[in-house]
């Protein structure tokens, strides 16, 4: 796909829109969709891509565009499916391998990510973004942390990083201390907070019981998929996007909120704590987690 830089984006969008209006079969929809995506107009970009796909259902670049838009919309499964389609249509498509590797990396499925990125490296052994991404995945597979000082963000260089909230420069987030990420927000143990990925794996925080045991993994495993179920339930009822899930138990109140990429943030507090206050703590932890993820904490 051809990307263009330098010209004012609004002018490009206008020019491409006019071109597409003159000739609806024009491949200009690819550039237009990409320009809209880069400009953050995701709904419009999606509409352009889908309309293009109606006319060009076997165009690998159109599916690639749809996959990129899906990533920006946080729809990783859909992005993966679209790149899988690209791979079927164009078996030597490098971007599809990179994209699939990216999705699997974001889902912490590092071994599978490695497979696709290794295929990408075979297709183009000189692509530095692939080499760097592959190195990152291998570090994750060994359970370590990458050194960010001399490596860029390969995903960003591939144009794949999803939009994130702005980082607060005074936010005291230490990206290398995931366990203590929420400790100052949770009154040093009065409440407990946990960030889980879409598969229920712990990304940050701890969950200590009264006797001091960390049961974060157990809680995460049981809550795996709760985001997806909440979303499906809301879709069935046409109640919009879910914003919080509060569970009162015999001993505590647990409040949860959705994060990007189907991650889940959870705060547990004593039952004596007013519900409104629990939600305030939840909101602060969501802001902290968003900032941490933006700093590459995941």
């Amino acid at each position: 796909m051809v990307y263009w830089r330098g010209a004012p984006m609004a002018d490009d969008i206008r020019r491409l829109s006019e071109e597409l209006a003159r000739d609806p079969a024009s491949p200009a929809y690819l550039q237009l969709g990409e320009a809209l995506r880069r400009g953050g107009q995701l709904d419009l970009a999606l509409r352009v891509a889908l309309r293009g796909l109606e006319r060009h259902p076997h165009d690998a670049d159109a599916h690639d565009l749809l996959a990129r838009i899906s990533v920006d919309r946080g729809e990783l499964e859909r992005a993966f499916d679209e790149w899988d389609m690209v791979r079927r249509i164009a078996p030597a498509h490098l971007g599809a391998r990179k994209g699939m590797g990216y999705v699997l990396f974001k889902q912490a499925r590092y071994a599978e990510a490695q497979t696709y990125l290794a295929e990408a490296a075979e297709l183009d052994g000189e692509d530095e973004t692939v080499a760097t991404a592959l190195a990152m995945v291998r570090v994750k597979l060994r359970g370590g942390q990458r050194d960010q000082r001399d490596r860029g963000d390969p995903w960003a260089e591939m144009g794949l990083s999803a939009p994130v909230a702005p980082v607060d420069p005074v936010d005291p987030v230490d990206p290398h201390d995931p366990l203590g990420l929420f400790s100052d927000l949770t009154a040093e143990g009065e409440q407990t907070a946990l960030l889980l990925d879409a598969t229920g794996l712990v990304m940050a925080g701890t969950y200590l019981t009264q006797d001091g045991r960390d049961v974060a993994q157990e809680v995460g495993a049981e809550l795996s998929g709760v985001s997806d179920e909440a979303r499906r339930a809301m879709r069935h009822l046409a109640l919009g996007d879910w914003s919080s899930l509060t569970v009162e138990t015999d001993a505590a109140v647990v409040a949860m909120a959705p994060m990007r990429d189907d991650a889940l943030l959870l705060v547990a507090a004593s039952k004596a704590m007013p519900l409104g206050l629990v939600h305030r703590v939840l909101d602060r932890c969501v802001a902290r987690a968003t900032s941490w993820l933006a700093k590459g904490g995941a």
Partner: protein
């Protein structure tokens, strides 16, 4: 079909903003009784609500927090509330203007009256 549970379920649906109330088997997500507004997809929603409640209960158990007494899922345009007893889950669907505090009290009272 009306059961002896119907009056209890129906009384909840009369609360302001409530679109429907269901009594669901937590294990298999099947509706035991329900009073729903026209257009609500009862069976599919019942299964999802039961599954969500079960997940919450199991995670609370894993964390040593005891049984789940009440669950509230908040969305931009409404709420889903659930309360369980003896592997049954009482579920309410309400729109954004509903008084959740009042509904919560009524649900907990209704649950005490449920006998199967």
């Amino acid at each position: 079909m009306k059961t002896n549970l119907t009056p209890i379920i129906a009384s909840l649906t009369r609360q302001r903003g409530v679109r429907g109330s269901l009594l669901v088997d937590e294990t298999d997500g099947v509706i035991i009784d329900a009073t729903l507004h026209v257009g609500m997809k009862g069976p599919a929603f019942a299964a999802l609500a039961a599954s969500l409640y079960r997940k919450a209960r199991l995670s609370a158990e894993a964390a040593g927090l005891g049984g789940v007494t009440f669950l509230r899922l908040r969305a931009t345009e409404g709420h889903v509330c659930a309360a369980g007893k003896h592997e049954m889950v009482l579920v309410i669907v309400a729109d954004a203007r509903a008084n959740i505090g009042l509904i919560r009290m009524e649900m907990l009272k209704a649950l005490e009256r449920l006998v199967i």
